[in-house]
């Protein structure tokens, strides 16, 4: 792991949203924030797929959107390919934007209904100044083939509504790679697809990494697909990364209690398998008044007084596996 070169480095990233509480706010100095992302750091190495998991409200989608610059940062640094996001000119920004693309969750909504498949995929090329029609046509055909929409000619002049969900997601992926980016953010790319075709999209993403060396952030709530696709996994909870590490290690030997709870909640298609059951309160705390110390403490079955002082510093518990819990998995206290 050490000798690998980092492509994306996120350092102490914060994203706060100010809450508008109506007219009272006009007369009050106090501002209220939702801390969607609260001081997270991670690295994605070249050619690696990092899975970002968590429940809704964990900040995983916001993290993805910040990396493709759909959202601004409140504080912190994002260093892409040795280049700091924050301090760049407009031209630099456009140039670097090209390197980072995204595939979205809803294949029905992510394509402009008024564009043909050709127009959809040609659009980024045109934006980045490609004018030669033959060249554009060739390139569009080429990426459609990479995305395994064969024969490409058959799809090129259709409209999105004439395609199936899986085909649309392939078009979205084709659009994502047409500019030959170095980094792709995939936000729940298979969650809206039927089970029988999900594997195709996952395998396609895998191929893009294996054959083109594309680095990826795969955002998903589905731990099974993360295990299938990703090299490493980061688990988010209420704006914090609670655990990060090699995907197999984290899933087979989770260190953080939240990771354990999450894993034990995943249903398994094996009638003989009995899942371990961990009793916890299923309500998330109020995102505005977050608990002091560890954010999982109010729900955690192992919580102690010490946990109120926890600041989510990641500790390496196993090689390449970091946990934000002050206890290791072996000596979790018996709790409240």
């Amino acid at each position: 792991m050490m000798n690998k070169e980092a492509l994306v480095q996120v350092k102490n990233l914060k994203k706060y949203y100010q809450i508008n509480r109506g007219i009272r706010q006009l007369f009050s100095e106090e501002k209220i924030y939702v801390k969607a992302i609260d001081d997270i750091s991670f690295t994605i190495n070249k050619g690696e797929i990092l899975g970002l998991a968590g429940e809704s409200g964990s900040g995983k989608t916001t993290t993805g959107e910040i990396l493709v610059r759909l959202q601004d940062v409140t504080d912190g640094e994002v260093i892409f390919d040795g280049h700091d996001f924050m301090y760049e000119t407009r031209e630099e920004e456009k140039e670097f934007r090209k390197e980072i693309q995204m595939v979205f969750q809803d294949p029905y909504e992510t394509l402009n209904p008024r564009f043909t498949i050709f127009e959809t995929i040609a659009e980024p090329l045109k934006i980045y100044g490609m004018k030669d029609k033959d060249e554009i046509y060739r390139r569009v055909l080429e990426v459609l083939q990479i995305a395994e929409l064969r024969p490409a000619e058959q799809y090129i002049f259709r409209y999105p509504h004439e395609l199936s969900g899986g085909q649309r997601q392939r078009v979205a992926i084709a659009r994502g790679i047409v500019l030959e980016p170095k980094f792709l953010v995939a936000d729940e790319p298979v969650s809206m697809l039927d089970v029988s075709i999900r594997a195709d999209i996952l395998n396609l993403l895998k191929d893009l990494r294996d054959k083109m060396g594309l680095t990826m952030l795969y955002v998903s709530h589905d731990l099974s697909t993360i295990r299938y696709l990703c090299d490493r996994i980061a688990i988010m909870y209420l704006g914090k990364i609670v655990e990060i590490g090699d995907v197999d290690k984290v899933i087979s030997n989770p260190q953080h209690p939240y990771t354990q709870v999450l894993l034990s909640s995943v249903p398994v298609a094996d009638p003989d398998y009995r899942r371990e059951s961990i009793e916890i309160d299923d309500e998330l705390p109020d995102q505005i008044n977050l608990p002091e110390g560890c954010r999982f403490e109010p729900r955690c079955p192992y919580a102690t007084e010490e946990c109120k002082k926890c600041d989510h510093t990641l500790i390496e518990r196993e090689e390449g596996q970091w946990s934000g819990c002050i206890y290791s998995a072996e000596d979790l206290p018996s709790g409240k």
Partner: protein, 306 residues
């Protein structure tokens, strides 16, 4: 070399034809079913033709006084073969006035609607797309215009400037772009949250490109619809203003015809004088309304009948 390009443009045009979202196509399809809309289209075409060829159709000068064989003014004569819609108290031909009034009504309606939709949708798109401070400022301006009552505003405007249809168009436009702006803004708000707009941003598209290539085509249907309603509203506004006597004295207008019938005290005894412009106004408004309603049905899937 050029072969591929040809293929592209060739296939593209055939592909566009297949796009079922084509509002016009759906609209025409609907006409077959919706007899009221068909009626509306027919009447509207009739009025437009009358408006265009008003000079040819009108048999007389509208202000010409007509005399009978005894060299007497044909005062308040009912409909006859010479004067289809009768005459006024000073012997003017009402048919000619109504025909020329059609032109004024359509001119005001269409020009005002164009101006209104142009301003309103620009403001709506900018406001809805950028949001934040821009949105707040623009929407406060909209609120301000909502607070101005129409009739007094026009009366003051014609007093300050002079009564002409251009000022009426100006007044109508000044006070109705706000509605369009609001409608378009709310539509843009929901469209700009859709993932394909995010996807366009990630692809590197700038604000102008997104507004024109992505958002505008998706709000055009609603703009068209608003425009149809605005035509109606402008025609009605012009008629009311002219009826109150603040109209353009140089232009024939339906409202003005009614104004004279009323101020001369003949609105009760000479029914033809009020009936002709009255029926014209109602017919034109109804026809546009039916067309707009059919358009709305095509645009708003919830109204679409299966």
């Amino acid at each position: 070399m050029n072969a591929t390009a040809d293929v592209i443009s060739d296939k593209k045009s055939s592909g566009l034809g297949k796009n079922p979202r084509g509002v016009m196509r759906l609209f025409l399809q609907n006409l077959r079913r919706d007899k009221l809309a068909l009626f509306g289209v027919a009447i509207l075409i009739f009025f437009i033709l009358v408006g265009i060829f008003a000079n040819v159709i009108a048999p007389y000068e509208p202000s010409e006084r007509h005399y009978n064989a005894e060299r007497q003014i044909r005062r308040l004569e009912g409909p006859s073969s010479e004067h289809w819609f009768g005459t006024t108290d000073v012997g003017r031909d009402i048919f000619s006035q109504v025909v020329l009034g059609t032109r004024t009504a359509l001119l005001v309606g269409i020009l005002a609607a164009l101006l209104v939709t142009l301003v309103g949708s620009s403001v709506g798109i900018i406001s809805g797309y950028f949001g934040g401070i821009t949105d707040s400022i623009l929407m406060r301006i909209v609120d301000f215009f909502y607070a101005i009552p129409f009739i007094p505003f026009v009366i003051v405007l014609s007093a300050v400037l002079n009564p002409s249809i251009w000022n009426i168009i100006l007044a109508v436009s000044l006070l109705s772009w706000r509605t369009v702006a609001r409608m378009v803004r709310s539509q843009v708000l929901s469209i700009s949250k859709r993932p394909f707009i995010k996807a366009a941003k990630v692809s590197g598209a700038g604000d102008l490109r997104i507004m024109f290539k992505y958002i505008l085509p998706n709000v055009i249907p609603i703009i068209l619809l608003e425009m149809a309603f605005m035509v109606n509203w402008a025609i009605m506004a012009e008629a009311s203003v002219a009826f109150l006597g603040f109209g353009d004295p140089d232009k024939q207008s339906w409202g003005q015809i009614l104004h004279f019938s009323f101020v001369t005290g003949n609105s009760r005894n000479a029914w033809w004088w009020t009936a002709a412009p009255g029926v014209a106004i109602v017919l034109l408004l109804i026809s546009i309304f039916f067309v707009a309603r059919a358009l709305e049905e095509v645009i708003d899937p919830r109204l679409r009948r299966r």
